[in-house]
Symmetry: C2
């Protein structure tokens, strides 16, 4: 597996909003985010990707956080979608569809293949 390959570049600017979209359903902590990305989307991300990403979402106000103690060890920081985070997801959705259509115009046999 290439350290920095084709798939890695495709992810840029997308994973962030995948996380926000998942938070729409329920608050999650870091480990759950990684697990859900893997099980729901076959998207494998490491902690080195997720934690800086979550930090940025927080500093941009897209999420709010809350510490919860656990019986099993270290406490967890749970992330919850904020109002402006909901708007960010909606904006991304629209932009994603626009861009997808653009690329489909350029690629021969746009997007209609299995």
């Amino acid at each position: 597996m290439p350290i920095d390959g084709l798939a890695t570049q495709l992810r840029k600017g997308v994973i962030e909003y995948c996380v926000l979209a998942m938070l729409k359903e329920a608050p999650l902590y870091g480990g759950e985010v990684i697990q859900l990305l893997r099980t729901k989307g076959q998207i494998l991300v490491s902690e080195g990707t997720i934690y800086p990403l979550l930090s940025r979402l927080r500093s941009e106000g897209f999420v709010e956080t809350e510490w919860r103690d656990t019986p099993t060890g270290a406490p967890r920081r749970y992330y919850r979608l904020s109002r402006s985070g909901q708007k960010a997801v909606a904006d991304f959705r629209a932009e994603r569809f626009r861009f997808r259509d653009s690329v489909n115009e350029i690629f021969p046999d746009g997007g209609r293949q299995k």
Copy 2:
């Protein structure tokens, strides 16, 4: 317009292959690449994006180049898709569909709108 916004991140790793896909039809020089991206895909890119990108395609062997004089002024460097460039486009296509499906799994109401 934000210097580095939502749309800019979405493009990463995609424009490169849009260019290769366009070269599948005919050899092009830098200015034509910029123009075609704009007219066919509504994708606005500047010279500062395209020329380093074309350089990289060349150093990776995805394209071959040829200088042609013009009657109008400076000569043009034309880019032609190589054999390995064709394979790169095919690989990208497959990876793009995979990733699209993954994201659709995560986003509520995946891709079926409008």
